[in-house]
Symmetry: C2
Subunit: 245 residues, 2 copies
């Protein structure tokens, strides 16, 4: 029996859990969303580290063999501390997203994320270390509340894209990194505004990394258990909708 813990600040990480379920790399997935303290994106580094270690403690109760940090803000500031305390492999969406970029080093890469993720420079530094030269990074904090309100296309979304990306030559962008687990729900709008770009989803990137670096193979079936620090019924209802449970 191999078990994977998935941790996110809220319900957005279900987009990662969904890909993990489809991939069948684990017998069981234990999802924990810290919905009592969501969002992490605008909180201090030390606070995010403390909350992340508490999530790890909770998930350890389930004898997990892997931890997937599905929250970009936590991945950007708490991954080292989580690795130190875990005693098993810890995989974050940021390194997964960067490794999933199989691109020419001169590609035009647009990185989007919360303020905390962008300001941490974690993504940018990893991209620079790998030799990528043309990186534009834009903090897009309004995308999370829009997705949570179910507004993923249309006039308001187009105006917000204009606000954030008005100065960018959109047709020149080759890759867009969706650096927040909520952003895959805006995929259609990203495709519309960046017609030549390939979108990098955290969930798909995590599955690739687990296969490539840990040699995990497909099992016959994967089950999932869902936990939240607040509003577990909302998590379960969203999971029903998004994961076809």
């Amino acid at each position: 029996m191999n078990r994977c813990g998935v941790f996110d600040s809220g319900i957005g990480g279900l987009s990662v859990a969904s890909e993990l379920l489809k991939s069948k790399l684990f017998d069981e997935i234990i999802y924990f969303g810290d919905t009592a303290r969501v969002p992490y994106g605008n909180k201090n580094e030390s606070t995010i580290i403390r909350y992340s270690l508490e999530a790890l403690e909770f998930l350890k109760n389930f004898d997990i063999d892997f931890l997937v940090v599905a929250c970009n803000s936590a991945s950007s500031v708490a991954i080292d501390e989580l690795r130190r305390e875990a005693g098993f492999p810890v995989v974050g969406v940021i390194e997964a997203g960067v490794k999933a970029l199989d691109a020419a080093k001169t590609s035009n890469i647009l990185l989007t994320g919360t303020k905390r993720t962008i300001q941490s420079n974690k993504y940018q530094n990893m991209l620079l270390d790998l030799g990528y030269q043309n990186i534009i990074s834009v903090a897009t904090p309004l995308f999370v509340p829009l997705v949570e309100e179910g507004i993923t296309e249309g006039k308001i979304v187009d105006e917000v894209f204009e606000l954030y990306f008005g100065d960018i030559d959109k047709s020149s962008i080759d890759y867009v990194i969706l650096g927040c687990t909520h952003y895959p729900f805006l995929a259609k709008s990203f495709k519309k505004h960046f017609p030549n770009a390939k979108l990098i989803h955290s969930g798909q990137a995590i599955v690739e990394l687990l296969k490539n670096e840990y040699g995990l193979k497909e099992k016959s079936d994967t089950s999932i258990k869902l936990f939240a620090s607040d509003n577990p019924e909302e998590l379960r209802s969203k999971a029903k909708e998004w994961l076809n449970l």
Copy 2:
């Protein structure tokens, strides 16, 4: 020396603290923003009550004589529990807002607020008890992130107003209750879309209630102390900007 504690889930309550400072009804104001767990608007009732009681415990350390609950979500679900534990008067923005409405009972009243505030029906029930008959209530959750991003007028705001109020005969509205401490920052846009409406601000309403029901009089000067459970430097910088400190 009389001291007033002001509690909000985040920095929005500074709009209330600002009016309290101007009114000079207290020698000292102690502001606490629970920024480590903001926002409350989408959290469960029991969680909001627990967080509110923790805020009260913290503020009791300062020997306060009054507590102003500047958070609408907390006012809508935790005011009874706070009164039970406080041992001094506790005043909330909801009752203050309702009492500030000095209007004909047939006036058309538009109530705006977070999902939690609107769903609690606390405002609506108090308005009905006072005999008001024409109440339209609309949850407007995107307003908080817009204000926090500094977007308070222009195309995006107009589109969001259209989304929330598209079906309402705007010129017929006599009063708009700004049922969230962030909303006074959108006053200009509210004025534009509801040209005939008087706006009800929580901060001004609280000052009126303290004068009318507790007979508080103007002092020579009021000082303020600021505390936050996360990012105190951001609270202080916003306070500098908004309170002219």
